[in-house]
């Protein structure tokens, strides 16, 4: 039941149980299955659910920060537009919108689905 490596790492006063120990059979009989696929599936399912929750929270926080940033910057953009005059206001809005659309398009095209990799190595 106990390999020599384990035995060698024990101190001299430590209790060592070997096959002749009357309790060894009881402990050997009580061991859970070494590999239970159903158990593994349940654990990995919960891991996937937790990963999804974490990613949702992170994206929600990122979205809130983006909105907050735009709200902070908007007065500066507004004053800039006023400075450049009424005739430049429309082109600026078009440029800003085009930039926004380009950003969203890039995010959409480069999106990834976080599938678990099937082979670790």
């Amino acid at each position: 039941m106990y390999c020599e490596g384990v035995r060698a790492s024990l101190k001299s006063w430590e209790w060592v149980m070997d096959k002749t120990d009357p309790l060894a059979d009881f402990f050997a009989a009580d061991a859970a299955p070494a590999n239970d696929r159903a158990f593994r599936t349940r654990v990995m399912e919960r891991v996937a659910r937790r990963r999804l929750r974490i990613e949702l929270v992170l994206r929600l926080v990122a979205g809130c920060l983006l909105v907050l940033g735009l709200a902070l910057v908007s007065p500066v953009l507004q004053s800039l537009a006023d400075m450049l005059g009424q005739e430049m206001s429309m082109p600026l809005q078009v440029i800003a919108m085009a930039g926004g659309v380009a950003f969203l398009g890039h995010a959409w095209l480069s999106r990834t689905i976080n599938l678990p990799r099937l082979r670790p190595f």
């Binding site: 790492s9 002749t20 009580d30 061991a31 239970d36 158990f39 593994r40 891991v47």
Partner: protein, 179 residues
């Protein structure tokens, strides 16, 4: 034949988001962790829940593991903390009327009878003593490693193992093997 990846390699892969690597970690230690928790909890279903919680917490906290080679010890520490928390909450709340043996699979084979006898005997030990005995006698851990996992002084673990062993031998009606 492919060699088995080390714990450190699996931890590194799992940290980089590889779920299959974490699945390998679960495969590697589920038997030991579940056996340990089954010996601490009166119900196998609770032990299985705790084992799932242990691996879930392990995944969440994996980046905080300083020494990946000590993964096993670290997972057992989490399991022990979960078991202690469970024992406290159970003492406060749930009372089950059914005999815990009813939840177990058939006990026809002598091997299973021995397992039941051991569980019943372990149930008569105090939780700390049960944990020390489970690790040192059941899993073959050194007293030092068990002391680290259980966060107890080395002398306390040694005392728990000696007394627990003697008590188990007495309950199970076998010689204590110290002759």
């Amino acid at each position: 034949m492919r060699s088995q990846p080390t714990d450190a390699a699996l931890v590194a892969a799992a940290r980089s988001g590889n779920d299959a690597a974490y699945g390998r970690i679960v495969d590697r230690y589920q038997g030991a962790i579940r056996t340990f928790l089954c010996r601490l909890c009166p119900y196998d279903a609770d032990a299985d829940d705790l084992a799932q919680e242990t691996f879930l917490a392990g995944w969440t906290e994996l980046r905080r593991l300083r020494d990946p080679e000590r993964l096993k010890t670290w997972l057992f520490s989490i399991a022990w903390r979960k078991a202690k928390g469970q024992a406290r909450s159970m003492a406060r709340a749930r009372q089950r009327d059914d005999d815990w043996q009813d939840l177990r699979p058939d006990s026809e084979t002598p091997q299973t009878e021995r397992a039941i006898a051991l569980r019943q005997a372990l149930g008569q030990l105090p939780p700390d003593q049960r944990a020390a005995v489970s690790l040192c006698l059941g899993e073959g851990w050194s007293h030092g490693d068990a002391a680290n996992v259980l966060e107890m002084p080395l002398g306390t673990v040694k005392s728990h193992v000696l007394r627990g062993r003697a008590r188990l031998a007495e309950i199970l009606g076998v010689g204590d093997g110290q002759d």
